[in-house]
Amino acid sequence: MSKVTTMSEAIGRLVADGASVAIEGFTHLICHAAGHEIIRQGRRDLTLCRLTPDIVADQMVAAGTVSRLVFSWLGNPGVGSLHAIRRRIEQADPAPLEIEEYSHFGMVGRYTAGAAGLPFFPLRSYEHSDLPRANPRIVPLPSPYGDDSVYAVPPLNPDVAIVHVQRASAEGDAQAWGLLGCQKEAAFAARRVIVVCEEVVPESVIRADPNRTLIPNMIVDAVVQAPGGCHPSFVQGYYDRDNPFYLDWDGISRDPAALEAWLQEWVYGLADHAEYRARLGAERWAALAPGEAWAPPVNYGSYR
């Protein structure tokens, strides 16, 4: 059964006001297209779960869709700060922003516990740091085998996970390569999953390389084809990071008026991500195209 739909329909159906939403992807496969559609539909009071809130998080916070962040690293990677988010945290401008803060492995552990139906995940972190003081959900846990102890983090089960991949079948089996972050754990932890892909491929492509499947269709609620949907982030083998955009964002984000103008021009003023992609222009996309580097063949064997 095909689950292919539009981003507008998927967000409209699966992301409600007040929901917790995981948009994962560690530098790679960050679905800006979904963030923009959430902004466009005017969602409010979202809890955004993401190890590394970066540009799309700054945009979503600036647009007023997000009232709470669950995270482990906050910034414009390789550039500096996210100024809209900083204004809200440092000066409650224009409103306070609730935060719930972990370390990277703490967040990964939270998704893992959420995905695995565990009441906690144990890890060797936090001892003597101020993080458990800042976040009382991080608690010490003695080993049941005697003189050792670890810290525990609680499971994270977002209402929705939005996962971008290179290719997916219409039914939702999703394959990715390159940096995988914690996309799999976030998807299995979530109550609903939206797969966004560069390409919808025949099921036979998926079935010809089952080890590449990151997310199985049985946990997927919608499949959206959005080529270029991670811009200015990147998709391994499809397009490079648009670094000038990351640099430009620093200036835009420092100035609330410039940020609002950007949202008007690039989000509210466009019907969908196809328009965004067209507006960026063929030349910019061409500059982001990588050369070819094909994986060597592997034989699964035919067994009849």
């Binding site: 695995a116 799999k184 079935r207 089952p210 199985p216 067994y303």
Partner: protein, 244 residues
């Protein structure tokens, strides 16, 4: 129409898979039941194997749960960590099949030892994934040949807990037991005969059980396997490797 004990067990189990989605399956009769269900009552049933094959589409009859024919053409192949953590413990499995050397009235199962654990009369394979399957799958189906040796009042070892008092597991526990005599379901945690196979009698059931088996007030006779069911089933195992 004629059929064997194995055939009616598989047919009865397959019918109970109507409406289910994700099935955790072993090799042999359970695998045949799932394949038959895909061809009859539940074409969209997804098969998940303990070995990590998900959505397998085998081109031949698999001879082990890790048969390479379950990998080539599968939707996904996953590590055992992911399989047990995210699929099973994460609550994604609707029905799981378990085998049994001994089963009791609560649906608890022994696959570990006959006789005492420390010095067994017969050493059986042990749990494998059965213990966590019994506790985490939404429903457990058991296909087991019924006899006083398998339907016992007291297990020599509890490998896979059923509806034991105080059970807090997230999984729903045993749901259906199919034998060569009938189909059982659980009423307030007690294994209860709900359907008697054609030709079988309540006396046979009782004689083949180590306790006084509860019988549903609305006991029915199992509708005999149809010609179509038998044809499908026999095509799945033409050499009768598992059908015997």
């Amino acid at each position: 129409m004629n059929w064997t004990a194995n055939e009616i067990m598989v047919v009865a189990a397959a019918r109970r898979l109507a409406g289910e989605r994700v099935c955790f399956v072993g090799i042999g009769l359970p695998n045949l039941a799932c394949s038959l269900a895909q061809r009859t009552v539940e074409p969209s049933l997804e098969l998940v194997y303990e070995s990590g094959a998900v959505g397998a589409r085998p081109q031949r009859l698999p001879i082990s749960i890790g048969d390479p024919c379950l990998v080539s053409g599968a939707r996904s192949v996953t590590s055992q960590f992911d399989l047990f953590a995210f699929y099973l413990q994460g609550g994604r499995v609707d029905v799981a099949f378990l085998g049994a050397a001994q089963i009791d009235r609560r649906g608890s199962i022994n696959t570990t030892t006959i006789g005492p654990y420390e010095r067994p009369k017969v050493r059986l394979p042990g749990s494998g994934g059965a213990c966590e399957i019994a506790l985490n799958a939404a429903k457990v189906f058991v296909i087991v040949p019924q006899s006083p040796r398998s339907f016992v009042s007291r297990l020599d070892f509890v490998t896979s807990p059923g509806h034991v008092p105080g059970r807090r597991a997230r999984g729903g526990g045993p749901d259906t037991v199919v034998t060569q005599l009938g189909v059982y379901r659980f009423v307030e945690g007690e294994m209860t005969l709900v359907s008697l196979h054609p030709g079988a009698t309540l006396e046979q059931v009782q004689a083949a059980s180590g306790w006084e088996v509860a019988v549903a007030s609305d006991l029915v006779e199992t509708p005999p396997p149809t010609a179509a069911e038998l044809a499908d089933l026999r095509a799945l195992d033409p050499q009768r490797v598992y059908l015997g």
